[in-house]
């Protein structure tokens, strides 16, 4: 699983951090999403899928490979 984020789409709702805080954070200065790990381990995949599903602005994309 590989994750990409589009910070231009981010609206700072924080759903990703709530779903998967080992993978996503929010930048202290601009409040937008920060990707901590772009290829998370299998253990985190369910959380990451929640983060993608709950993101209100479509800023998170998962690429399965």
């Amino acid at each position: 699983m590989k994750i990409t984020i589009d910070r231009d789409r981010c609206v700072g709702a924080g759903q990703c951090v709530r779903a998967a805080d080992e993978v996503f954070d929010q930048d202290d200065l601009d409040g937008c999403v920060v990707l901590l790990v772009s290829r998370p381990s299998e253990r985190l995949s369910a959380e990451v899928r929640d983060a993608e599903r709950f993101c209100p602005s479509g800023a998170i994309e998962i690429h399965d490979a």
């Binding site: 609206v11 700072g12 951090v17 929010q26 202290d28 601009d30 409040g31 929640d50 209100p56 479509g58």
Partner: protein, 404 residues
């Protein structure tokens, strides 16, 4: 947009909105809108046809679709509440504008509403909640839970976050309530004008004597750098202040009421206080304080087997999306054991509630502490005597008489 026309609807289409009978249940007549079709047609007070979106998946897709507009200033933007007719032209920051204007405004605010920033506010919210319950218990054993607790909790929090003097709360709580809930447009407009004037004066004072809140940051940075003009700042503060008051107060009061009416669920929460977070998510799903969102189609959109035409009014029914059987098993059952996290109680898309993590903190602390401190809390009147808001307003009790 010049090609579009407002479509009227047949008199047979059901009128929207209807008032709830039970404070935490959809109006009974909405049952006819809850069939298999994710979109149905309803009639607004002015005879205009609107699409009522009731499907969870379809509603989420539409709320995230940039072809649907939130531009309140558009002369053909749908009017749901008669008293707000003619308010077109005033474009409210954040809630009443589309991107890119919306993104520019929201970006100034999101660092102040982040998950970690809201977590850091928890000790302050806990102190406020403890103090309010101390006062309520001292005056008791009866109280109006709305005025004694549900209202001051979010009011104190948003005042602290913005650095608006809480000492003025009677003034702006009353104006805020009239602005969104007055019976006539004249009263609502007067309340708006007074709030506007108050905030204008506050910004003026803060320019000379800065405080330490979000409003001060906006003055010192965004206003000073010309990224925000003066009127926009005043209106943005007004939106934040009103949004901070008129939503969470209902969620706390309606949440407490819903738990009181489901004693087995309340017992489960008492046995395991760690369930408070998912209890709050289930309450947000089940009660849908923000009953609906209004949008205007800017282009034709194919959705749920229908064509929403450019110029059509769209009502996204948060209440019915949150009760969609395709998204939730036994959707009409209040069950704090379920995972309700994909509810749309805060909306979806770019306008999803900016203050949602503040609201979650307030709800978790307020409801968790309320039932821990007053284990024998109960309604002081029968449920059908609890006065509730009209169908077009944020949903919740106007007063909630309780005893212990």
């Amino acid at each position: 947009m010049t090609e579009t026309e407002i479509r009227p609807t047949g008199a047979s289409a059901p009128a929207f909105p209807k008032d709830r009978t039970c404070p935490f249940q959809p109006p009974e007549s909405y049952a006819q809108l809850r069939g298999d079709a994710p979109l149905t047609q309803v009639r607004l007070f002015d005879g205009r046809m609107a699409w009522m979106v009731t499907g969870h998946a379809e509603g989420r897709a539409l709320l995230a679709d940039p072809r649907l507009s939130s531009e309140w200033g558009n002369p053909i933007f749908p009017v749901v509440v008669q008293r707000t007719e003619g308010r077109g032209g005033l474009s409210f920051p954040l809630i009443g504008v589309d991107d890119p204007e919306h993104a520019r405004q929201r970006r100034m605010l999101i660092p102040s509403f982040g998950v970690k920033r809201m977590a850091a506010l928890r000790p302050m919210i806990q102190r406020d909640v403890d103090g309010l319950l101390d006062a309520m218990l001292e005056k008791g054993p009866t109280a109006d839970l709305v005025s004694a607790f549900a209202l001051p909790v979010p009011s104190m929090a948003i005042c602290s976050l913005l650095d608006v003097p809480y000492g003025d709360h009677d003034f702006f709580e009353e104006r805020s309530r009239d602005f969104v809930g007055a019976a006539t447009s004249a009263e609502a407009d007067a309340a708006f004008a007074q709030l506007h004037q108050y905030l204008h004066g506050l910004v003026e004072r803060k320019r000379d004597e800065p405080g330490d809140g979000l409003l001060d940051e906006l003055i010192a940075v965004q206003l000073a750098e010309g990224k925000l003009d003066y009127d926009e700042l005043v209106l943005m503060t007004l939106v934040l202040l009103v949004a901070g008051h008129e939503t969470t107060v209902n969620a706390i009061a309606l949440g407490a009421l819903t738990l009181l009416q489901h004693p087995e669920q309340l017992d489960a929460l008492r046995r395991d206080p760690a369930l408070i977070s998912q209890t709050v998510e289930e309450l947000l799903r089940f009660t849908s304080v923000s009953d609906y969102m209004v949008r205007l189609a800017k282009e034709d959109i194919e959705v749920g087997g229908e064509t929403v035409k450019a110029g059509d009014a769209v009502i996204v029914s948060i209440t019915l999306m949150n009760r969609d059987g395709k998204a939730y098993e036994d959707p009409d059952t209040f069950d704090i054991g379920r995972s309700a996290r994909h509810h749309v109680g805060f909306g979806h898309g770019i306008h999803q509630c900016l203050g949602q993590n503040l609201a979650r903190a307030e709800l978790e602390i307020a409801l968790g502490t309320l039932f821990a401190r007053i284990p024998d809390l109960r309604l002081a009147v029968p449920l059908d005597e609890v006065p509730i808001k009209a169908g077009h307003d944020a949903q919740g009790p106007i007063e909630l008489p309780v005893t212990w």
